[in-house]
Structures are given as structure tokens and as C-alpha cells.
């Protein structure tokens, strides 16, 4: 009797699991479809696309659209391709992510381990930054950049993203460090470590998981931003997203869909890479064993 019910339980479990996997597979395929369309059409000559059959594999395989998107397409005045704009984005995103993450970590450290009067209010105000819509700050930000002489430059964009990102990174690090044993900080104080030494030697080495979260979040947001890029860095300083838009929207000549697809994939590649490379470190418990366990 008991064995029979157990057997039934195992069998129904197997049926349910097969069903779940089928559904998951279906969803995965559904989400992969756009990527498939983009990939397939980016390696076809244009004539095959305009002739219909978006879902078909190419008859003639070609990397020409990719080459064109990267180094030849007409985006600004010159036919430069997306290449210079890709580097613009890199020059913007690397310092902005690095600085916002480091400052967020410092803020989190101070807000949890060097508490002062009014620290919760200050933190609340910083959280507010996470909820301000981009559009509201456009005009004041333009003014500030103008006054600082950073208007239209990559460094201006870095500043904008830095300011906008600190709210989020502070939130992440504050919550992470709140669970970090204060006794470790006290022990380090007795050992004679100063403010920055405690930060560099004790807290930061244990911040791997949250740093990864912060980097992924910041990288994706800043790389994918269009509004700030379009508003504050038009022309040759424009980031990848703006350049891609220009490429796709250009009104002259025929629409080269295969080039557009290749350009779009180029624009999406860095964020994908960040996920693939850093995602693995996401769940590592670096804190294990520091306190009682």
C-alpha cells in the first residue's frame, strides 16, 4: 500500500517534471526567436530579406553586413560605421561603472559602519535618486554640464551616469554591509587599521557578490541608455545606442536591414558578455566562516 502510493508519487512527479521542462523549453524558444531572426538576417544579402522569408536560413552566407555596420555605414557626416561610437560607449561606461561602484561601496561602508546622526535620512534621500524619472533632470542637468564645461563630451555623460547610479549602488552596498559583522570592523580598529585600510583590506575583499551585482546593473543601464546619450552627447561624441538609432533612422537610400540587424547585435554584445562572464560569480558566498558557523 505504502509502496504503491510512493510509486505513484514518483510517477506523477516524473510526469509533472517532463511537463515543466516542456513549458520551459517553449518559453526559451519563444524568447530566443528575435535573436534568431536578427542573427540569420544579419548574414544574408539584402535581396534575400526583401524577397521575403524572414525565418529562412540564408542561401548565400555573408559577413558583409557586419563589416559594413562596424566600419562603413553612414552615421554622422563621415561613413565611419559604428566603430567610433562603440569606443565612445566604452569610454563612458567603464569609468562610470567603476566610479559609481566604488563610491556606492564607500557610501554603504560609511552608512553601516560609521553611523552618524541623520544617516538614515541621508540614505533615504539617496534612495530617492532611484525613483526620479530621467526626463525630469534633463534640463537642470544640461545647465550643470554647461556650467562645468562638460556639455557634449563623454566625460559629461560619465558624470550624469555616475550621479544617477550612486543611488542604486549605495542601496546595494548598504544592504550588503548591514549584514557584515560589525565586530570585524571593531577588531580591525583595535588592530590599528584606519578608515580606508578597513575598507580596502577587510570589507572590499568580501564584497565580491555585491560588486558583481552592482557592476552588472550599472553596466547594463549605462550601456543601454539612450535618452541621456541623445540629449547630452550628440554628434561625434554620441554613444553606441544613439549611433545605432541614427543608422536605423537614416532617411537616405534603401533600408539595409541586414546591416541594421548586425549593428543591433553589435550594440547588445557587451551587456551579454558581462552577464556571461560575471554572472558566474554572482552566488559565491565569500563570507562563509568569518563568524560563527
Amino acid at each position: 500500500m505504502a509502496a504503491a502510493t510512493q510509486g505513484t508519487a514518483i510517477r506523477t512527479g516524473r510526469v509533472a517534471r517532463t511537463f515543466i521542462y516542456l513549458v520551459l523549453l517553449l518559453f526559451a524558444l519563444f524568447y530566443m526567436l528575435p535573436l534568431y531572426v536578427m542573427l540569420v538576417n544579419s548574414v544574408k544579402p539584402l535581396s534575400e530579406i526583401t524577397g521575403g522569408g524572414m525565418m529562412n536560413l540564408p542561401e548565400i552566407w555573408t559577413v558583409e553586413p557586419w563589416r559594413k555596420a562596424w566600419s562603413e555605414a553612414q552615421i554622422g557626416v563621415q561613413p565611419t560605421g559604428l566603430k567610433p561610437y562603440f569606443w565612445n560607449s566604452i569610454k563612458m561606461v567603464v569609468p562610470a561603472v567603476a566610479m559609481s561602484t566604488i563610491l556606492g561601496a564607500l557610501n554603504g561602508y560609511v552608512l553601516t559602519k560609521w553611523r552618524f546622526r541623520g544617516d538614515t535620512i541621508l540614505f533615504g534621500l539617496m534612495l530617492f535618486a532611484c525613483f526620479i524619472p530621467f526626463q525630469i533632470v534633463l534640463i537642470p542637468m544640461a545647465r550643470v554640464l554647461g556650467v562645468l564645461g562638460l556639455a557634449g563630451s563623454t566625460w559629461g555623460l560619465v558624470l550624469v551616469h555616475l550621479v544617477y547610479g550612486i543611488g542604486f549602488t549605495t542601496l546595494y552596498f548598504r544592504n550588503y554591509y548591514a549584514a557584515f559583522p560589525t565586530e570585524l570592523v571593531r577588531a580591525a580598529q583595535i588592530d590599528g587599521a584606519g578608515f580606508f585600510q578597513i575598507f580596502w583590506r577587510i570589507l572590499l575583499p568580501s564584497s565580491g557578490p555585491i560588486a558583481v551585482v552592482s557592476i552588472i546593473w550599472q553596466f547594463t543601464n549605462i550601456w543601454n541608455d539612450f535618452l541621456f546619450g541623445a540629449s547630452f552627447a550628440a554628434g561625434n561624441g554620441a554613444p553606441m545606442t544613439v549611433a545605432l538609432n541614427n543608422l536605423v533612422q537614416s532617411s537616405t537610400g534603401v533600408k539595409e536591414y541586414n546591416v541594421h540587424f548586425a549593428g543591433a547585435i553589435l550594440a547588445a554584445t557587451p551587456t551579454l558578455l558581462v552577464y556571461i562572464v560575471a554572472g558566474r560569480y554572482f552566488v559565491r558566498g565569500l563570507m562563509a566562516g568569518s563568524v560563527k558557523g
Partner: protein, 371 residues
Amino acid sequence: MGFLDIRNATKSYGAVEVLHNVDINVEEGEFLVLVGPSGCGKSTLLNMIAGLEDITSGDIAIRDRVVNGVHPSKRNIAMVFQSYALYPNMTVGQNITFGLEMHGVPKPEREKAMAEVAKLLQIEELLGRKPGQLSGGQRQRVAMGRALVRKPDVFLFDEPLSNLDAKLRVDMRTEIKKLHQTLGTTIVYVTHDQIEAMTLSTRIAVMNDGYVQQLGSPKEIYDNPANLFVATFMGSPSMNLIQVKLRVEAEAAFADTTDDQGGKVSLPVCGASAALKSYKGQTVTLGLRPEALTDVEGADHRSDHVEKVQSMVTVTEPAGSDTFVTTTFGGTNCVARMRADADVHPGQRAEFAFNMEKAVLFDPKSGKRIV
């Protein structure tokens, strides 16, 4: 002037005073234990000595140097935390030498000091490991190594054994005591475990509600508790408290109470003082430790003041080395500590021996000892 002086120190958080006028002098080489129930301010006082908490008023001096406002790293103290607080990203060796490194000690000297301490604590083979790869007892040892390597004036321990299992706790307790005896260091040690306090200390400060209730040697605290709090907090099972009526006849005083059947029991009080006699006719609290209430054969033969009284046994609890016997005097449950093979059975009357030399009397209203 002691080695570590706490003079009239108070601590307030906002309007709430959590430590009131604490006065303790610790001599060099002393092992002072701060003991008390949770929330009584032990950790706060220890953190004030360490410099991790400000002193609201009063002074703390180490080697005659007032250290109020001096940074923790400049007080020449070392602390072992309840959670050990080992740096998770560093190896055991780096954990031990981190303090020396921060104090600018050159590498060869650091290595030498580390080797010495590792040898003393027998953790040489652990030096390359991370804290996460150690057992609780090993972490405890490393935490002590980190404190020892600095050769501080004063060691501070905040409940260092409370995360260990019962057996390991006893072993480490012995080890700490041995360490204190070999090195002769000055130690301030916080615990809420009264057995730890009794076994380790040379002096105990019993604390409650932010007040030091009594400061004295373990024997003083145990035999001559200053008040009802100290009497009941220290000792396990705790002291029997019987409400008695004080009767004075000429030079002698008697504590009158009842047995289980309401029969009159009169216990002569040893060495009645004038202060005690002034309680004539009033109800006072008689305190008697379980080991002063025994079977007749087990009574202390050196005592001249053993009183034998019959009473009903309600519960017996054989604990291997002793048998704890519960009975009733004066309407309250009393625990007697009898020999393991004492012939007593629940539901039968047995003869109890009161060693009145060990009895102490308290004012039931103020809780203070009557001397």
C-alpha cells in the same frame, strides 16, 4: 592605583543611563570576570575599556594613563570577540599578524611573533588556512592568537566561549586559565555563565541593571553575597531562600519557620550581630546553599552548628555525583544536595541537616545582606 582603573564611569545612550558609577580597580596579573544577566551592561563596560564606546562620564586609566578618548589601537589592549571576528579573506597567519602590520612592525619580526604564538596555541599547521576552513575550537584559538601576538597590557574577552559546545567550552576554559597562569597577563573577561566566572577569575564583578552589585573574590561572592541578587545569580542550583521569623532570646537569635506539615522549626543563628537583633520579631530571608542543606551523614563535620530537621521529600534528582532532593520549609521549595547514595525516597520523610554556619540573612525589602 591599579593597573586598570575604572573610576566612577557611567554610560548613557541619549537620556538612558545603562551603566551607573562603576568603580573597579584591577591589579596587574588579575583575572577579572564581569558577570551578570543579559543586558546588564557587561559588553558596554568592556567596549568602554577597549575604546569602542565613549565614556559618558568618569575615567578609565590603563597603567595610570587616562585613556578616555584614546583610539582603541593606542590603548595597548587586545580583544577576543564572541563571534571571534576573524577576517574571512585572510589566512590564519595573516589574521594573527594584521595588527602588527598595522602598527608598522617589520615583516621578519611579525613572522617570528606569529611562530611563537602559533607554537604556544598549537595552531602551527593551520597558519595557511582561511577561517572558513576551521572548526569552532580552532577559530577560538586563532582569535586568542591574534590577541596574544600584540603582547598587550590588558586582554579583553567578550563571552569567548559561548559559541562552543559544552565539552569544548570546558576544555577551552581550562586552556584560558592555564594561559593566564603561564603568561600572568591582566584579563577582563565578560560572561553570563556563573560557573565560568567562578572557575576562571581571581575577582568577580557581579552586575545587574548597570550597577556593580558586588566585587570580590569568587569565594567572597559565593559565601558572602552582598544581596539577594548576587546570592541567587551565583551558584547552581541557586541558593535556597526561606522566609523566617527572627526570635531573639538574650544573646541568641533563632530563625523560626515550619516544616512540610506546618510543624515548628527553630534554627539557631550563628553569631547574631546587633544589626541582626534589631530585626527582632520581623520576617527576614534566610539563605542557604544546597550544599549546606544535606543528609545527616553528609553534613560538614567541622561545623558545630548542624541542625537536624525532619521533612517530606517531594522530588529526588540523582545527578551522578550528588542527589538533589527537593523538600519544603516555610512554604517554599528547598533543594538539598545529598550524597549520591543517600537513602531518601519521594513521598517519605527524611532527616535534613542545616549547616547554620553557612546561613546568610537578608532584609526582604531592600534585599541587602544583614551583617
